[in-house]
């Protein structure tokens, strides 16, 4: 896929370095937006992604592809920016992006009670849709740690959900 931005007085060729960065991050925007929504709120999503992109742009020269894929690197920055702004409500039923009728309220309520680390693992693995290796790279830990974190999170969730139905 090639993306060319032309018109409106804005051209990608004004700064090829910036254009390269835009093309580089574009495939990862959905995952960054999803994680930002999960860790903060839908209202804060775009601000968090924006801050993450500005930070990623400034640190792009330090990115080393030999040390990992772009997505975990970008998601780690997104998680960091979300943590600094974190004011996610206990429930997300009011989020514009999600129809309240389809929200699993009990599950969301239980996830909100997990530790930050457990929530990050759950959100990266189940909601962003990364595999274990990708989740580990974004969390800067081993795959074994991710598996045990997810296992602990599910055990906690089962306890928290124990009273339903």
């Amino acid at each position: 896929m090639t993306v060319t931005v032309v018109g409106g007085g804005v051209t990608a060729t004004d700064d090829s370095h910036a254009a390269d960065f835009t093309a580089w991050v574009r495939p990862h925007l959905p995952a960054m937006a999803a994680l930002a929504t999960r860790l903060t709120s839908y209202d804060d999503r775009d601000d968090v992604v924006q801050e993450a992109l500005v930070r990623a742009w400034r640190r792009w020269s330090t990115y080393d592809e030999n040390r990992g894929a772009p997505l975990p690197w970008l998601l780690a920055i997104t998680a960091d920016r979300a943590r600094r702004r974190r004011r996610r409500p206990q429930l997300v039923v009011t989020d514009v992006a999600v129809e309240s009728s389809t929200v699993d309220v009990d599950l969301e309520r239980a996830i909100a009670q997990l530790t930050d680390r457990q929530q990050l693992a759950v959100n990266l693995y189940y909601f962003v849709g990364l595999d274990i290796a990708g989740t580990a790279a974004a969390m800067k830990c081993s795959t074994g740690t991710v598996k045990s974190t997810l296992s602990d999170a599910r055990a906690r969730l089962r306890g928290l959900l124990g009273d339903e139905s």
Binding site: M1, T2, V3, T4, V5, V6, G7, G8, G9, V10, T11, A12, D14, D15, H17, A18, A19, F21, T22, V25, R26, L29, P30, M32, A33, A34, T37, Y42, D43, R45, D46, V49, Q50, L53, V54, W57, R58, V96, A97, V98, E99, S101, T102, D104, L107, V122, Y126, F127, V128, G129, S151, R154, A155, L157, R158, L161
Partner: protein, 367 residues
């Protein structure tokens, strides 16, 4: 609830959650503009701006009468785009996605007797989703003592107490691969597809009549009921054919339409309350023609500084453009009705409705 059940619940809920997310913001390059949130120290650098989020969708209903043409070809102006030689825009509903025809080099055997309803048990195969399309998979396991085959489309009707039955349409955006004979214990798949954005609800959001049961009539005879997950019929319900994972051709068939390259020609300015005419340049970078016989739909999205202005789907006008030659660029005229209340700067995003999205974006000042 055991660990496996919770794991499945999380996977299914996560997949459903992903399909309901609004498109992510578009990065816009502004190489000579200093946004308010960038520290002065970094002002000299080119920065990435993100258009602000989605709150209200303003939709334009499709006109079922004669196609709307852009009218007399406007002359180029400082604030306009030259539409000379463009393919006229038409107000046409987006067609469903049709995957490219494929030929399996070694078709698997599928000559067994047809499975009947009593030969199989049904179970949920989970959910999968992408770009507003959601697949609800159903697994059909052969529990009989002999080999049989499930192929073609079963007749599926969604039912719900107090609601009229809903007939599931044959043919889905999700690809299906070949089928093959099912030995005892082997399984075939079927996907029921729902959508969150469509012609009936181009802005997305909200839900239509929801069904929790389907009646499946088998090609080999017999009928079975299945308690499905919630099926939102707002945008219709479609089905794949029966297929077997890994049988015959790969389900990841390459669609040459996804090789097309896009760019937008946007005017510098657009006037709120009036149509914005712009052009999508569609280029074939390959050394062979790309057919538009499977004329695709497209998704158009625009937002200003505060909210979504337009989020719509249409069918491309391929009437006089059966194919795009190697190296050729075809310019398609596009119309976007800018709400009178829009202000600031609008980000416009345009993408072909394909499993592998081909997409371009740009921006225009509203003045």
């Amino acid at each position: 609830m055991n660990d496996d059940e919770l794991d499945r619940r999380l996977h299914e809920y996560g997949a459903r959650w992903r399909t309901q997310q609004a498109p992510p913001p578009e990065p816009l390059l502004r190489t000579h503009h200093v946004p308010r949130w960038v520290p002065v120290a970094a002002a000299a650098a080119a920065v990435v701006l993100i258009a602000v989020g989605v709150a209200v969708a303003v939709n334009r209903p499709h006109n079922t009468a004669a196609p709307i043409q852009p009218g007399p070809t406007p002359s180029p102006t400082p604030s306009g785009v030259d539409l000379t030689g463009t393919v006229p825009w038409v107000d046409r509903p987006a067609p469903g996605y049709t995957p490219p025809a494929t030929v399996s080099p070694t078709p698997p055997a599928s000559d067994a007797r047809a499975c009947t309803s009593s030969d199989v048990t049904l179970s949920s195969g989970g959910l999968d989703g992408a770009t507003g399309h959601l697949a609800h998979y159903i697994l059909f396991k052969n529990v009989s003592a002999s080999t049989c085959v499930l192929k073609g489309y079963p007749d599926v009707v969604a039912t719900e107490p107090g609601q009229p039955d809903f007939v599931v349409r044959h043919g889905s955006w999700f690809p299906d691969s070949s089928t093959q004979n099912l030995a005892p214990g082997e399984s075939a798949n079927l996907a029921l597809e729902t959508q969150s954005i469509c012609t009936a609800d181009p802005g997305g959001g909200g839900s239509g009549p929801t069904y929790h049961h389907v009646e499946i009539t088998f090609p080999g005879g017999g009928r079975k009921s299945f308690a499905s997950g919630p099926l939102d019929a707002k945008c219709g319900i479609a089905e794949t054919q029966f297929y077997v994972e890994g049988a015959g051709s790969s389900p990841d068939v390459h669609d040459p339409l996804s090789d097309l390259k896009l760019s937008l020609e946007l005017p510098a300015y657009a006037e709120p309350g009036k149509p914005l005419w712009y052009v999508v340049d569609v280029t074939n970078p390959l050394s062979q023609p790309i057919s538009l016989a499977r004329c695709p739909g497209y998704f158009e999205h625009a937002n200003d500084d505060t909210r979504t202005l337009v989020k719509s789907t249409y069918g491309l006008n391929c009437d006089d453009t059966p194919a795009i030659s190697p190296g050729q660029t075809v310019r398609f005229a596009m119309r976007l009705d800018v709400p009178a209340s829009a202000t600031g700067r609008a980000s416009v995003s345009w993408q072909l409705d394909l499993p592998l999205a081909v997409h371009a974006s740009g921006s225009v000042t509203l003045d």
